[in-house]
Symmetry: D2
Subunit: 211 residues, 4 copies
């Protein structure tokens, strides 16, 4: 099996993005399965084309996108991608789409194919906070998540996709009263997430499984 | 035109529900359009059957559900209903469904038919905080919102639906450091919401309109 | 009896200050006691000199300062003024003192002479949120509060002083997810506060009284 | 030089207290100075007597108390101890004092003798969030902090004291949306705090120093 995992580069004036930092600490194989790591630009169009090209080149079984969710205190796997973009700030190419669909004729929303309840349970069991999120926002994160789901429904029928939001690193919130998580803990949580994806691969109705 | 508007009764130990309180202060007609007000039980099944029966009896043009979103500081019209229920507390009939679809073969998500960006803009212009929300949660609120959308797609093709979350009343947060909004302000915001719905009725692509 | 009550003008880019707005709606007498209302500049030195001059001119029994505490959800009477200033932003005269004592030889802290527990209880009984605060910050609010307490200990032995922080108005948080309170509710809370001060005047150990 | 450092045991239903956990990872000497570690009960009277006895037995130069501040996202050295106790929950001996002075004739407040601005600066420079706090609350933490300050002023004139609040551990907030900090990061921050205390020992006006 092959798992592609992506991480965005820093945006909105930040010097680091925990999503890109954590990729550096993940192995190349997990339990014999290959892990393909991809850095993507925090840009609506660039991220989409980078991931689309990589999907074509690698034909992975899973495409898991990691993104920073400033203000969240734990790991939050996303339940649904929605067909909507409404950017409150410009992306890294200075593009700021407001209130529009991502795909004109696309479905309103697509559920993830990841076993997110099991992921949350296993991360908590390791002593780290986690919670299912029901919104990935309306910025680049949700945009990429939706695009992957749309491609799955139109071009890559065997692909399974999902999005994992992670907190700020401590160094990003030195003076701000915002929650954070250490890079070491985020890395451990991502390893648990990946092992859970592997363990649940092939099971039916995985999104409703808690055990 | 006929607009049905519903409000839940108190739940989770609360003595009031702002959604039900605000209904008492809304008029029976707005700009010549009839407003049908309906109190519903904070119960997955009862709320659904109460609203379904009322839709059959009244055949309204709009079905707008109002619900309390404890912890939110402003009026938050919801963007999307999702096909998922996962209750962290039991409802008023002691029913607590965990991790399952609402409708087995239903779509993952349905966008609202309300002009939510315009509603947010108009409420802000009146001096009150408002923001589009991209998640109505996975409790009774989202359940009812999803059911109405599902019925629209299967039985009531001319129905338009939407969900508006409102903050706690001040009396519900006496000691809790949670945000609240006065009943008078909530009522004013609901009047603006209703007038906006009427003003935008019949316009195309209203969900993307900011003006 | 004579009660002086002060409110700051807008600062930090705000167009209004709820403290100054609420003064407009307070009466000139309460239960036969005179209420002297004073607008003060959000400036360390100007506010202090304005209040000092007014204390000399009016010789009030109480000096109650009202200030905006952005981010707080209820009315928060302050317990203690501390001998420290550390401004994170400049005041309205572009003065920004960092890490220093307010009065070189002053006490580290002074407790208020207001019956703050009773005020909190009475405001809650009226259906509005309130809580004792143990820090008035290290900006202009605490500075003025401390100065009044210092003057009480050196020049005005019969003066009683206190500081009441109030939330943002709804119009100040249109898009910000911050809590707010309507001007009407703040006004009602300030009336309850003033009546409680009058009711408890002359009682001993009022700061520890809950009833 | 001898530094005594204390940590409370778990309270309010928690299974761990980060203050007690971090003590386990601190060394016995830092730069040649002895570190005396003391576990104390989360009890108003027991903690006070445990620390008083240890002060008599050890005669340390510094007494630094560490406590858990649930809900805070960074390390928060406290500025001031106040002469007030008002417990919202019972302590570990089921004692819950309400609204009263700690020492009948004591000062209203005492500033810490720790270089808290320098501590905050140095912790931030290491990449971890920190902020001066101006309230240690009115529970056991402030009580112990005040008692030590009072003893300093009456019996131990050479003693210097201070209180450091630290966040929850990740394992304490698995499902709660509250911020946390890893034990490894808390330990590093406490090492920086101790080294800063040592570096600034003997300097004048340390509380106002930022550099």
């Amino acid at each position: 099996m092959k798992i592609m995992i992506t991480g965005f580069n820093p945006f909105n004036g930040e010097k680091v993005n925990p999503a890109q930092e954590v990729l550096k600490f993940l192995p190349d194989t997990i339990r014999g399965h290959r892990l393909v790591k991809l850095n993507v630009e925090t840009s609506f169009e660039k991220a989409a084309s980078q991931v689309y090209d990589a999907l074509l080149a690698e034909m992975p079984d899973y495409c898991i996108n990691i993104g920073q969710a400033g203000g969240r205190s734990g790991i939050t796997p996303e339940k649904i991608a929605i067909n909507w973009v409404d950017a409150s700030i410009a992306d890294n190419t200075n593009y700021q789409p407001k209130g529009q669909k991502i795909v004109a004729k696309g479905m309103d929303g697509y559920f993830t194919q990841l076993p997110i309840n099991a992921i949350v349970k296993n991360i908590r069991n390791s002593g780290l906070p986690a919670k299912v999120s029901n919104t990935a926002g309306t910025y680049v994160c949700n945009y990429l998540f939706y695009k992957v789901q749309y491609w799955r429904n139109t071009e890559f029928p065997n692909l399974k996709g999902g999005f994992i939001h992670i907190p700020y690193l401590p160094s990003q919130v030195l003076q701000s009263n915002q929650p954070s998580m250490s890079l070491n803990d985020i890395t451990n949580a991502m390893m648990i997430m990946l092992k859970t994806v592997i363990d649940y691969d092939g099971l039916k109705d995985i999104t409703s499984l808690y055990d």
